[in-house]
């Protein structure tokens, strides 16, 4: 996973890509663990399945404002978000939900 404003880890040419947006800040003590959980959860899938964008709101507060993100860490997958260090099961549900939504 890259760690820059609007950094994209994979090409987004395929519409099947699961789009994940991860919000963190430099003062957020929970963010490193949340990032680890996210990375470990998607490890079992092929990396080509995801388009991950990480926003550090300390450097890029406009993105927090654009997405209305007050609390960190926040992970957005397909219009749904979780706040705090997520359980892997919840992330899996969100990923599957996104895939189902794309198919239907």
């Amino acid at each position: 996973m890259t760690d820059d404003d609007a950094a994209v880890s994979e090409e987004d040419s395929e519409s099947q890509l699961v789009e994940i947006i991860f919000f963190k800040s430099e003062t957020c003590a929970f963010c490193p663990r949340a990032e680890e959980v996210l990375r470990e959860t998607i490890e079992d899938f092929g990396p080509e399945m995801f388009k991950i964008t990480t926003y550090n709101v300390t450097k890029n507060p406009e993105k927090a404002e654009e997405f209305g993100v007050f609390a960190l860490p926040t992970i957005i997958i397909g219009g749904m978000s979780v706040t705090g260090i997520p359980e892997p099961e919840m992330l899996l549900k969100m990923i599957l939900g996104f895939k189902m939504g794309v198919r239907s």
Partner: protein
């Protein structure tokens, strides 16, 4: 008693400064609490508007509830042209109202902070060199997040960081209809060094009376009475010599 004088920020509400030794202590957090329709948002926005127009202090309005276009429209009724101040770079209205939400939060784990909100506020403060900040209304956060203990601590931290820059911060808090406290957190008063309560009490079958009370203001001698207040064509006005008929 020492002759040391605390620097004051004029409130911009005619009559209010006379109740609080000339204004809010600069760099403090002030809570304006009241039930729906008591004039909290008008008072808070007037504090910013008059701060810019009369005292040359740029301000940031963080709106968590009402969209900016409605705030601007409503304040124009009092002759306060917020749009103009925005264009002049003296006022920033930050729209964080629910209408702006781009995602649906499906789960909240008790391991978060409010550094996102703080980064947004600090960014706008820095851009216009703000000396006054309003968050209207804090109560929305209580509906947005369920982990109240974390939220309280985080709001406290955020307020401390905002005021550490020298900015005077005014928060509004809505008191639920049947409630006797100062807002949905029950601890709003602890967050702030000053608490102003607005009332709009029914005094007869056909009329209501608006009033204002300075419940606390650290470092200040303030009136302990409940004073008459009216919403006039120029905004809120307090009558320091007039005790509310509803009390």
């Amino acid at each position: 008693m020492s002759q040391y004088k605390i620097e004051r920020v004029k409130t911009g509400i005619p009559g209010l400064d006379e109740l609080i030794e000339g204004g809010f202590p600069r760099g403090d957090t002030i809570l304006v609490a009241g039930k729906a329709g008591t004039g909290k948002s008008i008072l808070a926005t007037q504090f910013l508007y008059r701060g810019i127009v009369d005292y040359g202090e740029p301000g940031v309005l963080i709106t968590l509830e009402e969209p900016p276009r409605l705030i601007k429209r409503n304040m124009m009724r009092f002759g306060m042209d917020l749009e103009k101040l925005e264009k002049e770079g003296k006022l920033a209205i930050v729209d964080l109202s629910p209408a702006r939400t781009t995602s649906v939060n499906i789960e909240e784990y008790p391991s978060f902070d409010l550094s996102g909100l703080e980064a947004i506020i600090m960014h706008h403060m820095k851009k216009i060199n703000a000396q006054r900040v309003v968050i209207d209304t804090l109560s929305i956060l209580a509906y947005k997040f369920k982990s109240r203990d974390i939220l309280r601590e985080e709001i406290f931290k955020m307020c401390a960081n905002i005021t550490s820059t020298g900015c005077t911060l005014l928060l509004t808090s809505e008191i639920p209809a049947q409630d006797t406290g100062l807002g949905v957190f029950d601890i709003e008063a602890f967050l702030a060094s000053g608490v102003i309560v607005l009332y709009n009490e029914k005094i007869s079958d056909t009329s209501r009376s608006r009033s204002i009370e300075v419940l606390k203001l650290r470092g200040s001698k303030h009136s302990s009475r409940i004073h008459s207040m009216r919403i006039t064509d120029e905004g809120i006005r307090v009558w320091p010599g007039e005790i509310s008929p509803g009390t």
